[in-house]
């Protein structure tokens, strides 16, 4: 008999049955948890009287789909234009600008929404300037569908730009040299060289942006301006917290899950989108003439559109109002809660992502790899407010007091929310190590622990820092989970800010928004650098 071997078996991976077993156990536990959440929602749906007749699900579905669809189209268009401009232009401070757009993924939605109100709101900078200079007001474009779209495009367009810029940066130099020597015009260059590199990213990126916009909570809550622009996510929150209509909330949640699952099913067939937070290479071949002017204009407009709201948050927030806020004991409790929850959920996310990614990297089996990748989709199928609702119902069903379970549920829910991004950050480098160095690791007979300490950990230092920063910032800016579980005694900074806005204490809200923004920037910039240093020390 002649033995043959499959391509997967030909790949020499380190032999790590324990890693695979731990990952399977964890994936199963997460699946069980999600099942518990769904069961709690379904049980509540079948067991409660329907007072949900006034909830107009078709209208909500239509509105949510329209805003998510428009957000997707506009964000992809803006992101592509911005990536094109950044790929071509060389200027002092380029790294800073690229880093700024990369930070969009962690900038809390409610901070951006608040910044837009500061600029474009009734008493915002633009109206103040317009009234002073021309004697009339431009109204309140920050509210309603236009405001929601603007805020989403600011965040998701910048996110799309960073992903697409990485694709443009990865175009092989010989291809660029050939194009340059052929004297391609800027348009020809885009059509022949750039578009083929970008087009593979567009469907997957569009699916992610659609899901992010479809499940967006704080931006719609702050800028929606009334029921006309309400989305499913906000309607669930309103049903639970304002109307105490659990049956209605459950119907809405079921609709939300069904639509998200359909999009995920379609998206799972598309190419995955890796997270891109590394440096961008400065261009060597620059366009000339009108194209260059257009690129400068795109860059200027996008930078103003992104930076101005954040700048206004800092200017308004770090002014006189901050003294009043920091004098409140509640502020310090909320800060402590935010920091503890952020740190705990970041560490939990790291543990979950490492176990899953190490297990996934240790197997060449397609079905097993799919199984171990499934927990990453948990959040996308069951978004923040729905997850929170499910936990809320499950906790009640299990006879626990929601207030007692709240901190643990918030930490767990925030970890699950960050898990897809954590796995996208840690998974690819771990798999690359297992595949490229598997033969050497096996031939040296390294144990799993020695492999992790000597090979994987030193190489992952920055990625671990990036992952912790992402998870910490997501948790720091979260409103979706805490909105249902928060109480007067248990609140985080975003919830405190939301409550300040609800009681017309705009200065307090501005100060908290500024503090959140500064905290996010420090964590996003500092943690990767810190862990890079720690890992360097292990070399």
């Amino acid at each position: 008999m002649v033995g043959t071997t499959s391509r997967a078996a030909m790949l020499t991976l380190p032999h790590r049955p324990l890693r695979i077993a731990a990952a399977i156990a964890l994936a199963t536990a997460i699946a069980a948890l999600i099942a518990l959440v769904l069961w709690a929602i379904l049980a509540a749906a079948t067991g409660s009287e329907g007072s949900a007749l006034r909830i107009d699900i078709p209208h909500l579905l239509r509105m949510t789909t329209i805003q998510a669809g428009l957000t997707t189209v506009l964000s992809i268009a803006v992101g592509m234009a911005l990536a094109w401009a950044l790929n071509r232009l060389r200027f002092p401070g380029r790294d800073l600008v690229v880093g700024l757009f990369a930070s969009a993924i962690v900038t809390p939605g409610m901070v951006v929404a608040f910044g837009l109100l500061s600029i474009w709101g009734r008493n915002g900078w633009i109206n103040q300037a317009s009234e002073a200079l021309f004697g009339f007001s431009i109204g309140n474009p920050a509210f309603g569908l236009s405001g929601i779209l603007f805020a989403h495009v600011v965040l998701d367009g910048a996110f799309a730009a960073r992903i697409m810029l990485a694709r443009l940066d990865a175009i092989p130099t010989p291809r660029l040299k050939t194009g340059q020597s052929l004297g391609l015009t800027p348009w020809q260059r885009f059509a022949i060289i750039d578009w083929p590199a970008l087009r593979g990213t567009v469907p997957g990126l569009a699916a992610i942006i659609f899901l992010l916009a479809f499940t967006s909570f704080p931006i719609v809550l702050l800028l929606g301006g009334g029921p006309a622009n309400q989305t499913l996510e906000v309607a669930i929150y309103a049903a639970v917290r304002q109307d105490f209509d659990l049956a209605g909330a459950v119907r809405l949640a079921a609709t939300q899950i069904a639509v998200c699952s359909l999009v995920i099913l379609a998206a799972s067939a598309l190419a995955p989108i890796p997270t891109s937070f590394g440096a961008s290479v400065a261009p060597r071949w620059r366009d000339q003439g009108i194209a260059r002017g257009l690129q400068a204009l795109v860059l200027a407009l996008c930078t103003i559109g992104f930076v101005l709201p954040l700048l206004s948050v800092l200017v308004d927030g770090l002014g006189a109002g901050i003294g009043r806020v920091v004098a409140q004991p509640a502020f310090w409790w909320a800060t402590a809660s935010s920091l503890v929850i952020g740190t705990a959920s970041a560490l939990l996310t790291l543990a979950l992502a490492l176990v899953l990614a190490l297990g996934r990297g240790a197997t060449g089996s397609g079905p097993l790899r799919t199984l171990l990748g499934m927990p990453a989709f948990a959040y996308l199928a069951v978004p923040a407010v729905v997850l929170s609702l499910g936990f809320f119902l499950a906790v009640r069903e299990l006879g626990l007091a929601p207030a007692t379970a709240a901190p643990f549920v918030v930490i767990l829910a925030n970890s699950l929310l960050a898990l897809p991004f954590a796995m996208a950050t840690l998974g690819p480098p771990l798999e690359a190590i297992a595949r490229s160095r598997g033969k050497l690791i096996r031939s040296l007979g390294l144990s799993g622990w020695r492999q992790f300490v000597s090979v994987e950990y030193p190489l992952l230092g920055r990625d671990i820092g990036v992952m912790l920063a992402l998870a910490f910032c997501f948790s720091l800016g979260d409103l979706g989970v805490i909105a249902l579980f928060g109480t007067q005694d248990f609140q985080t900074l975003p919830l405190m800010m939301f409550r300040a806005l609800g009681s017309y204490r705009g200065n307090d809200a501005a100060a908290i928004a500024a503090i959140l923004l500064v905290g996010t920037i420090i964590a996003f910039v500092g943690l990767p650098k810190l862990f890079e240093r720690i890992a360097d020390a292990a070399r």
Partner: protein, 212 residues
């Protein structure tokens, strides 16, 4: 003595399987030469345990090696490149050849001795990624010394080196093979490497090894 008898293997879609038989003695370099794609690396993967043959046997001093997984085989491996972890220092790369739990002072002594034996005193703290091609191969050989496995598999180990370095590293392999009694199996398509090192030669063509 390392004895390979009627070892057969076929990749997916390969109609005629490879059939390998060879004998290699301790303290000698046995060279395998053949064109690209003739199956040289497949033979090394079978010897190292990365591939499982359909039939045949591999025995070292009458001990059957086939049931052993790669990490337990008495084999060290030196590749054309990528033999080191470039993010670790030279000393830490060499240390991977020591059993886990070796006391620090003892490990330092053994690493220093191994680096000295391959002519690399004083470079232990340098990152492997900053070393030249010849230095990298010497560091990998130093690690092989500490692993103390009687079979050394060399897969085109000199191909990435310039002529002068190539001769020096080749000579080091020859000296270490004799000094430590290794059964060294060299895969190369460079005739001068084979000429300089081999006590025993095999040619690989049409899926079969033949003594040259």
């Amino acid at each position: 003595m390392l004895r390979v008898e009627n070892l057969t293997f076929a990749h997916p879609g390969q109609t005629t399987p490879y059939t390998f038989s060879l004998v290699a003695h301790g303290g000698e370099v046995t060279a395998i030469s053949g064109a690209s794609g003739s199956g040289k690396s497949t033979l090394l993967d079978l010897l190292a345990g990365f591939l499982t043959p359909a039939s045949g046997s591999i025995a070292l001093d009458h001990r059957d090696l086939l049931p052993l997984p790669p990490e337990q085989r008495p084999v060290s491996l030196l590749l054309q490149s990528d033999s080191l972890f470039e993010h670790l220092s030279a000393a830490k790369n060499v240390a991977l050849g020591l059993p886990a739990g070796t006391p620090k002072a003892e490990a330092r002594r053994q690493i220093a001795e191994a680096l000295a034996e391959v002519g690399l005193e004083g470079i232990g703290e340098q990152l492997a990624g900053t070393l030249s091609g010849g230095q990298k191969q010497r560091v990998a050989l130093a690690r092989t010394l500490l692993r103390a496995r009687p079979v050394l598999l060399l897969d085109e180990p000199f191909s990435a080196l310039d002529d002068e370095t190539r001769v020096a590293v080749r000579e080091l392999v020859r000296v270490l093979t004799i000094r430590h009694g290794w059964h060294t199996i060299l895969v190369s398509h460079h005739a001068d490497d084979v000429e300089a090192l081999a006590a025993r030669r095999y040619g690989l063509a049409e899926g079969r090894l033949t003594a040259a």
